[in-house]
């Protein structure tokens, strides 16, 4: 498999993640779409790692996972605390701050 295929695949997943971010109203799904974007990046990293025969990119993937985990921990805490107040995870109702 040439690298191009992996680039296309990864970018396709990334784009799907972006679409998900754009089209969903559920904060959790949006967040999940972002995780999808991160995984697309991970895939690309691994492909490049393989291409160059360097471990660096794979290590980088570890750190992406680490950060993703931390972000998810904080993010879900925030979503939950938001849900506690308004009983919704719909991002459309987040409009007290505007203009």
């Amino acid at each position: 498999m040439p690298i191009n295929n992996y680039i296309f695949l990864s970018l396709a997943l990334f784009a799907i993640g972006v679409m998900g971010v754009l089209m969903r109203r559920n904060a959790i799904i949006v967040f999940m779409s972002i995780e999808l974007m991160l995984n697309a990046v991970n895939l690309l990293m691994v492909a490049f790692s393989k291409l160059y025969g360097l471990a660096d990119a794979q290590v980088f993937v570890f750190f992406i996972m680490v950060v993703a985990a931390a972000e998810v921990a904080v993010g879900l805490a925030i979503i939950v605390s938001m849900y506690r107040k308004v009983h919704s995870v719909d991002i459309n109702i987040l409009n007290r701050l505007k203009h």
Binding site: M37, L44, Y52, L54, I78, L97
Partner: protein, 462 residues
Amino acid sequence: MKPLIAAAVFGIIMMLSAVFLKEKKQASGLAILLLFLLLGVNIWALTESLQSGGVATFLFNDMLRFDPFSVWFNVILSGLALLYVLLNAKHIEVVGNHVAEYYALLFFILVGGNLLNAYNNLLILFLGIEIISIPQYILAGSDKRNLKSSEASLKYLLTGSFSTGIMLMGMALLFGAMGSFDISQFDFGADGGFNLMAIVGILFLVVSLSFKVSAAPMHFWTPDVYDGAPTTFTTIMATIVKSAVFVGFMRLFKDSFSSISPNWELVVAIITALTLLIGNITAVFQQSVKRMLAYSSIAQAGFMLFAILAVNARGMQGMVLYAVAYSVATIGMFTIVAKLRDYTYDGFNGLARREPFLAFTAAIFLLSLAGIPLTGGFFAKYYMLMSVMSQGGYLTWLVVFALLMAVVSVYYYFRVIWAMYFKAGEAELTVPVSNADRLLFGISAMIIIAIGVYPGLVMGWL
């Protein structure tokens, strides 16, 4: 290296102290003590760096690169943090119960800031940005009785993670093209398709870093988050964090990407112009000073972006000046906002009668933000504009545009002065102004004027 370890350790100490400290005041006291120590450690590191002749040292398999600039900038960051805490301790204490934790997060932010001015590897840049961002998500949402705070936090989290994804894509593509994460190893000389990939990667990095510094069109989060977050934590976001991220941004583009600057210069120029336009114009209509300051911070980011466009030493000097002048003034302004009951312009009415000294220093802060000579803001802007104009070409017209926008900025900054000095009213303060506050405000104003008269103080030796 010492400041980095010190900041991390102090953060942990702060975190653990929450168990022992009963009083919020004690947490503040400890934080101030530790910040003094941190500043000391930073200055120690600076003297060492200067003694060694100012050569850059690489640490941890070239993960970090310390040079006098980064060390000096770290001194500035810790100094700003100290100034911030000294002025805002009382405001931090009223945000919530977890005061010690807030301070711990502040120290972690400083760790991230330190990484951003010393990184030599994209991974460290990524980690630095995340270490800075995650505490911000938390701080933004720390006022849990306030829905706006939670909303700000969630908005920041979602948009921030999104931009992280974009940044990672950029880094991945850059790695794909270069075969390395070490920014000093990048070689753009080679031909072929990989170069194009590198450019795509760089553009992804441009937009994602634009997000972190709140440049248009990635600025959307800024007004809402700055507005919704507790004022005192907005201060951190708008000053320490913004300066640190900018330095990271600048290092990457000046040290590493400058050789292919024609490929990204136009994009950054467009971002700069848009940022200036949106920040300044939108700020005009605001009624809330806090929100105005949020837009103003977008506008100021437009000016700071000039340092990235400039890719020369003047730009770097300008960045230091800007970081100090802008941050001190903004800390001062936000602190005053935090003290007021009413955040709108009307809330400032008659402040000059009630608190003449406070109003006077506020006027100096605002003059500095507007870039009036004799204040640090002027030289900051001056260096930025000069560094970019020396590039010539269409960038000259960008400078002219920036200056026109500076005229617009005078409108909204002076409305505050207008309210303070010329409008009748009783500006209500929720947190009283102590003499220590006055002293600190005075020192801040002195710093701004000192830089405004003699800019060599902060960048002369660089």
